[in-house]
């Protein structure tokens, strides 16, 4: 089975950017959607692709549904590989201040 790199689109960047800003606390799909404004139809396929590529991992919230009165949330984290790839992408996209841009 082949492992492909996920397509880096605007919504993908928003998702990984949000997860990168909260490295310790996992985020649920609803939390990511709320902060980034990404629609659920775009969000979940993107999360699925990122997880399939090994950039993200997800785990169930450690609560008892009967205690909290709702189903368990699925929380997403960046993996170390995902964090490395993400940082590389963002450093490519960010303007490199101080870089020599012209010389006579």
């Amino acid at each position: 089975m082949e492992t492909k790199e996920p397509r880096i689109t605007g919504p993908t960047l928003k998702i990984i950017g949000q997860l990168l800003s909260e490295p310790l606390k996992g985020l649920s799909g609803a939390e990511i959607a709320k902060v980034t404004g990404i629609l659920s139809g775009t969000l979940y396929p993107a999360l699925f692709r990122l997880e399939k590529a090994g950039w993200l991992e997800s785990e169930w919230e450690t609560v008892d549904p009967s205690d909290v009165g709702r189903p368990r949330r699925r929380l997403y984290h960046l993996t170390s590989m995902g964090a490395q790839k993400t940082k590389a992408i963002f450093s490519e996209l960010m303007p490199q201040t101080g870089r020599l841009v012209w010389e006579s």
């Binding site: 089975m1 082949e2 649920s28 609803a30 939390e31 692709r49 949330r73």
Partner: protein, 190 residues
């Protein structure tokens, strides 16, 4: 204020109450529909995950809209998961080449298997690439025209088009001839 205004207000209130009563049930139906569209192995996980996410959204209308879009999410996930490429063979032939025109034919053959093992087969896709140069030597057009050979389902065609498009340098829309150019891969034969 006439009696009509009062009746209008009462009617509006009754309609609003009715909609409010219906929305949770509608959200549940949409959630069930979205989950049904997923591959069987994923259904229980996503059912619980999405139910929790919906519970976190404020407002019945927002919940219902979130659920409507979950159907699109299911289709997207199912398309990404549906098949595994077992083998792939790509051949490229130069049909015609002059200073101004280059015509190439590519055959894309892929052996695939659905994620649940329900289908195992080979799909063939034929693509034509036309390259034109103008008087100033500028390349003016790259286009591919997909044609399928074999019994590919619409979902397989769409998936294959996406994969083929990424490799062949274009996003190919099934059953359409217009394409969007993308960057060619570095190992693409000139």
């Amino acid at each position: 204020m006439g009696i009509v205004t009062i009746l209008d207000a009462i009617a509006a209130r009754l309609i609003a109450d009715e909609i409010k009563a219906w929305l949770p049930g509608l959200s549940n139906k949409l959630l069930n529909r979205a989950v049904d569209l997923l591959p069987t192995k994923m259904q229980s996980t996503y059912r619980e995950q999405w139910a929790a996410d919906i519970a976190d959204i404020a407002g019945d209308i927002s919940k219902a809209l979130y659920c409507v879009d979950l159907i699109r999410a299911s289709v997207g996930i199912a398309l990404d998961d549906e098949q595994t490429t077992l083998a792939r063979e790509v051949k490229l032939w130069m049909l015609w080449k002059t200073g101004f025109l280059k015509l190439e034919l590519a055959e894309w053959k892929q052996e695939t298997e659905m994620s649940d093992g329900s289908l195992h087969g080979t799909i063939r896709m034929v693509l034509v690439r036309v390259t034109l140069k103008d008087w100033f030597g500028r390349v003016t057009q790259h286009k591919f025209f997909p044609d399928f050979v074999g019994n590919a389902t619409p979902r397989q065609r769409k998936r294959l088009c996406r994969e083929g498009g990424a490799t062949f340098g274009a996003v190919i829309v099934p059953n359409k001839t217009d394409v969007e150019e993308l960057k060619l891969p570095s190992d693409w034969p000139e």
